[in-house]
């Protein structure tokens, strides 16, 4: 092994004058799950991610720097995710950014990212408190977190009832996936429950969520005014079927974005009519410019990942949007560290922290109407706190609300408090303003 390395090094030194040449291509690793219980939702996301990166290459790369993409299947298992991370992090000159699409893997990688100096984008999931960039230097829950989603949902039902004060005495039930993912919104919902005087019933569902008879019996007995659904994969469609069986009105059910895509409702079809879900900005966007461009520049050339019909679906868009944010961070970093040059993970991190996607830039990228401008900073790693609600009409998702903005008065103290606890537990000192400038 050693001898081979030395021989290789000697060879390289002999051949090239510049042995320490930087890699020419930007490496984006992928940690998808195309198998296992959550594959129906994991596949479209991964396809969107891969397709958008291919589109960037078709457009000519990031200021000329081409992208290499490589996947490693995790099956949503934390230990396999860690193995994949270790496998990919050093390849092709070093990984730019990881996007695990799993709360469990996010937790494990949060501990590893600062050591390896590779940023972690968790667009819409992961730790909600990682919005606080002074504690979580390497985590970027861009364009939304679970707390934002939960807050938007509370605002939506308040609007339906005619104001936040009308929520007093209402009963709310949270049907959640019994894992760190499902438990994330509880902190915020309890805060809101105490503020407005509604009651919160917590109904956990064990992984993978196909057994929910007891849960829905409880709902039948308690008759909550609203049900929030925090499920993933097969759990969502099971919930909707159970709601149908118990006769709970689907119009009063609100899901998080993980519970609001085509695979969740397709099997239930008409039975899910009227069911709502919060979207962190985008929904299904088959008519957006970027989708047309992907179809034209990637799929038409036979290079598409996955079936053509799924391009533009909710989770596909989520993948594409995640890839876009990853790429734009690198573009931003290039502005500082050299245009048209490869950037390291550490440099890319600066890009994500100083992301400034204006409406004009989004329009140019083909994301007009899909999302709103994003601007991050050291203190705020989320960058935007907007959400919308969409409703299933039996065949497709349609937007049924205006843009909703999370209440910073509620969110901010919670983020600060939880991040401070994390810092105290880990004996971390939050970053100083000077460190933020760098």
């Amino acid at each position: 092994m050693k001898v081979k390395h030395i021989a290789l090094a000697a060879l390289m030194a002999a051949v090239g004058a510049s042995t320490f040449a930087q890699p020419k291509e930007q490496f984006f690793p992928g940690l998808p799950y195309r198998t296992g219980a959550y594959a129906p939702n994991g596949v479209p996301w991964a396809n969107g991610y891969a397709d958008y990166l291919k589109l960037v290459n078709a457009r000519g790369g990031i200021n000329g720097v081409k992208i290499i993409y490589e996947e490693c299947e995790t099956g949503y298992a934390t230990d396999r995710g860690v193995e994949c991370y270790e496998r990919l992090k050093g390849k092709h000159g070093g990984a730019t950014v990881f996007q695990p699409l799993s709360t469990g893997i996010t937790f494990a990688l949060t501990e590893k990212a600062p050591v390896d100096k590779i940023p972690l984008i968790t667009a819409g999931y992961g730790r909600s408190e990682s919005q606080d960039g002074t504690v979580f230097k390497w985590n970027f829950p861009l364009v939304g977190s679970y707390w934002l989603a939960a807050d938007a949902l509370v605002q939506t039902i308040a609007k339906k009832e005619g104001g936040l004060d009308k929520l007093k005495g209402k009963k709310l039930a949270l049907v959640y996936h019994d894992s760190p993912y499902g438990k994330e919104p509880i902190a915020l919902l309890q805060e809101r429950a105490a503020m407005h005087g509604f009651s919160l019933q917590l109904l956990p569902v064990a992984h993978p969520g196909v057994e929910q008879k007891a849960t829905w019996l409880q709902i039948r007995q308690a008759r909550p005014d609203y049900v929030f659904l925090w499920g993933w994969g097969v759990m969502n469609s099971t919930s909707l079927k159970e709601a149908q069986a118990t006769g709970y009105p689907r119009e009063k059910m609100y899901g998080v974005w993980w519970s609001g895509a085509e695979p969740d409702v397709k099997d239930v079809g008409e039975g899910a009519k009227g069911y709502n879900a919060v979207t962190l900005q985008h929904g299904a966007e088959p008519n957006s410019k970027v989708v047309k461009e992907i179809l034209e520049k990637v799929h038409a050339k036979g290079q598409g990942t996955g079936p053509k019909e799924e391009v533009g679906q909710v989770l596909y868009m989520r993948g594409a949007l995640s890839a876009m944010l990853a790429v734009e961070g690198v573009r931003k970093a290039q502005e500082r560290y050299g245009k048209g040059k490869w950037v390291s993970g550490e440099q890319a991190r600066w890009g994500y922290e100083n992301l400034d996607l204006t409406q004009k830039k989004l329009d140019a990228l083909g994301f007009a109407g899909v999302m709103r401008p994003v601007s991050t900073s050291c203190a705020d790693h989320m960058g935007a706190n907007w959400a919308r609600i969409h409703t299933w009409d039996g065949k497709k998702w349609n937007f049924t609300s205006d843009w909703l903005q999370a209440d910073e008065q509620v969110l901010k103290p919670l983020v600060k408090k939880t991040a401070a606890k994390y810092a105290a537990d880990k004996k971390l000192t939050p970053r100083t303003p000077a460190d933020c400038q760098s």
Partner: protein
Amino acid sequence: MFYRENGQFKTSYRADQQIFAITQDRIAIVLLIAAAFLVVPMVTSEYMFRAILIPFVIMSLAALGVNILVGYCGQISLGSGAFMAVGAYAAFNFFVRVPGMPLLLALLLGGVCASVFGILFGLPSLRVKGLYLAVATLAAQFFSDWMFLRIKWFTNDAPSGSVQVSDLQVFGMPIASPISKYLFCLTVLVVLALACKNLVRSAIGREWMAIRDMDVAAAVIGIRPMYAKLTAFAVSSFIVGVAGAMWGFVHLSAWEPAAFSVDISFKLLFMVIIGGMGSIMGSFFGAAFIVVLPIFLNQFLPFVGNLVGVEISTSGISHTELIIFGALIVWFLIVEPHGLAKLWSTGKQKLRLWPFPH
């Protein structure tokens, strides 16, 4: 011819009672340990450490613990994941709540807690046997899943039920780099494995085996079944608990209860069955088979695909990996029902007789 134990005469009790009584075994083990400590750190990459060697070492330790219970004492257990979880969360609580708690002590206390938990869930073994006991120990698994998801105190009131540790050190040396982590795990493994090897040839180890082979006969010759079974549960859960704590602390460093799900219990049982029941060596073979083989297949298949010019999709690789892995398990169990350790001893026998087999 290559492996001969005849002609080695023991002239003292001391020489007769050492752990490895045969000279070439002793030399081989010393060389193996020396290689693991000295050579391996020099030639392996960071990926090998973090993704393969550290999980392998920790899982070997866990399989060793399960082997004590299942292989030596014959009590089938499906609660190993629970014992790991108890070890990990107990160690976490000691580590976080007691100021200045040294890592090693926290791990050992985690093992002690797992041991107590194991004795508690081992009580049914006095009445139920065989497959029924497997079902009874499954209760431990579900109980621990419930306990760590529901009782907030155990997870230090973390809002999402996920916990993390940092700043690990032993005697002032930080356990942060992959090499230090590996060496730390390896040290714990070597110490506990030698202790186990010694334990199973002692009086208590023989009691376990007597109970395994025929509990009524064992009781007749004066072995107390309760004592023997519960000590097996205690020792086994202690080792499994320490392994669980290391899995959480050293390998994952942030974990949720799902990291110790029933999947892990099954995996550990398979490690013992495939590796060889009632064999310390077998635990290592079993752990290597279950931990390393899937990862190897996952990387080897695309390589083979590239050779013949086919690009296999990510899901294709994953599915093929499962198919081959499953087929290999079935194949091994058919050709060698006594596990990989039996292959090893067959190999030794061949070396002994070569070149004149009867």
